[in-house]
Symmetry: C4
Subunit: 258 residues, 4 copies
């Protein structure tokens, strides 16, 4: 088999489209955000990506049916007041090795180019390693004009954060996208403790994206999920297991929400 | 050398055959099961697989003779009341890296296609991390019809298990088999503590497979092995080394049985 | 994408040029040294190297702009009294795997050959794992004549150091350069504790290189950085946190200087 | 560069030759043995192997001269009473990854076939993890006739040892040699504590090899080295640092001897 296999069920015809990435990562922020977005704008799946760079694994749904781990591509046309076409990338895993990350990202960008995408918008979480009272949405972009444009709609650009750069698909889509394909790119990251899946941070990045796309979104489901997480974390706090917090971050109840 | 080398001593002529996988894994359940099956139905070896994805190692038998680590392919025709043709895959190791797992599985599936296989049946263990009083046989399948069919013959399909999917050859044979080759697939997993090789769990999965193939099997040898393991575990329990259990799981006596 | 991509903005015309390497490493000595050198001689960037062997990461500058991690190539002509042409290699990371190290080094050497380089001069640090009162500059070279030549200008060749050879780009550029391209090569290493970035060690190797190139350099900026580091280490010492030293080596203030 | 580069300075004309392997490994037994053998029979180097599967490193000799890490090939004709031609393989490292081990071994075997080798004789150590009073020489071979032949000249074939097979070049040369090239093969392993380089174990395997080749060898130098090691280990024992033994195994004095 090829190292990366993209199976497309449809070839959407798009113009000046934006590639939005929300793969699993810190606090599952990016994935939560794009999943909510897709529900709201009724996106259509058109592609699946399999790869030797993913874990050798099938997932099993509640009915016992198996699904090979993959990444998935969706599209939606004429989104928001400016009628932008969108491609959305999400999935079960990111590539498991640095080389796999590069090859997967390059393959997606090559496809994006064929589909007339000219911009990348990657979503993620930024772990502060502690509870964050008023989570900001941090940003980085491939050029200064985009930085200013994003500042105007509420994104924080900070000298300190992200101090070590942006690792993984969110970073590479900007880096390779700019250098190899000439795409402009923005990455926005919701601040999060990093201890559990964080629907609140997901709402934060989604609000920025909606503002950018001049799009009205309801956040009800995300807010419900955020409440569930809060209840669970309060329960834990009540049990006075402050040092057990990190351990609980692998708690199935909490991660199930993602 | 090629990354994967398949040496065939014979090209069996089969029709509508089933590929049965029992490679080493949790509790060595799958391997124990297919080894017992092959004894009972008198299967014939026709292929050996060498690969750079296996450990760089020869095994040494009791007489001092070396054998390069490999996977092995066997066949048996007209098995059970429905006269099904079988290919059986077992071996010393699974691929050691995710990429190796993908490539090995894909190579086997390609060969399986050439040999007119249209279904995959993978056998394994499911570790509960604690002693299991009445071990169930858990299942997953590539489509709902198979799920129902397997439920009818005693396989448990559970929302909770396997919660994290199926990792390794057992999972990939279903996932790649379905997506790349159009094979239907079933995976059945015998519940086991995961502490030592588990002939009882192997008997469990084999009973299901026999039922599926309308095949009569004697389980004497598996039961003898199960007794050996039980005696050894009782001995350990008598020594009141409850917390030493896990450590003993690497005990040569216990694993030797596999 | 290719495993290694070299993007050149200019093809400098050089003769009998020297390839000088200062990639990140022990005490960041080599990178500090070449960065200072390039400021002093006003070197011109002409190439960038991207690779799947680097981390999948973009760096973010203080204004929020992203840059794909890379290695960079610079040149400067007619340097020093002997008017030598120089190529300088520096960057954000070395290759992350042994195989990546080999492939990256070989690619750079192939390019170096095309640009008429006939000698490699690699700069690095040599960690003593303890504070070094009077740091020496240690050396190794591809042939005895170069060893003697370097001894004459103050490089120490020691039977004990480096006892385990030279690992990474500094070593491979000499090894592959000699065996595959016939280049002569010298590696000089500034002794350093290895606890933090070490501008003093960088000055040490740079003085040798300047002597070799009969080049006058000012070391003001390096000395300023050395002072900053010393102040910080004294502060730590004052806090009587002797055993915290190693921990502090990851202190952002200290490493920021690099 | 190719993944493996073999540079040959001479193509020896041999007939029915034996490939003898003594690469670094447990107690450095194999390497010590072949190095001593080569001194005694005056072997001639004819090839060097470089590879991306070796560490990215140059070694530095006592005069400061660098050498890219490699494996080396030597030959000697008409050795012993039966006038056997020999190829000897030794070097600085074995391949660092399983895949590298396979590719390196296969490359060496392909060259060996071109040079009319029809047998592999690999030498190594077998770690018992404790001091061994009367070290045996353990063996394994590709077929039963060779097992009996080696038993007759003092090799021990044991059901227990090596229980987990033979890992690395010594094992793969037999396994791939037999399966892919049709070579017969013998591996003999000197029992050793595994704590330090073991010239005594090296003498043990060399005596067997000499017997097999009907060759007279002096063991003076190996015995001198064995004495050095013994003195050092006694010194350690005197210091009553029984539990420090393992730590001392990385003592430079002891390993320097190898």
């Amino acid at each position: 088999m090829d190292d990366i296999v993209i199976e497309m069920t449809e070839e959407p015809e798009l113009k000046d489209a934006i590639l939005i990435e929300g793969l699993p990562g810190v606090g599952n922020v990016g994935k939560l955000a794009v999943e909510h977005l897709m529900d709201e704008i009724d996106a259509t799946q058109f592609g699946e990506i399999y790869s030797i760079y993913f874990p050798p694994q099938v997932l099993v749904d509640e009915d016992g049916q198996t699904e090979l781990v993959n990444n998935r591509l969706y599209y939606c046309k004429d989104v928001g007041e400016d009628s932008r076409d969108l491609i959305i990338l999400t999935g079960d895993y990111q590539g498991m090795t640095p080389q796999g990350q590069y090859q997967l990202t390059d393959k997606v960008l090559g496809l994006a180019e064929d589909l007339n995408i000219n911009m990348v918008f990657s979503l993620g979480g930024y772990s502060q390693g502690k509870m964050v009272e008023e989570p900001r949405v941090l940003g980085a972009a491939t050029d200064h004009e985009l930085v200013h444009q994003m500042e105007d709609i509420g994104v924080t650009f900070s000298e300190e954060d992200p101090s070590s750069g942006i690792v993984g698909a969110s970073g590479l889509l900007l880096g390779l996208g700019k250098n190899m394909y000439g795409f402009n790119g923005i990455c926005i990251m919701g601040e999060t403790s990093g201890y559990f899946v964080d629907p609140t941070a997901a709402r934060g990045v989604l609000e920025i994206l909606a503002e950018y796309l001049t799009l009205d979104l309801s956040y009800e489901e995300l807010d419900d999920k955020a409440e569930e997480v809060e209840e669970l974390t309060n329960k834990i706090a009540d049990m006075d297991m402050s040092q057990g917090m990190q351990q609980e971050s692998t708690n199935e109840d909490l991660n199930y929400i993602g």
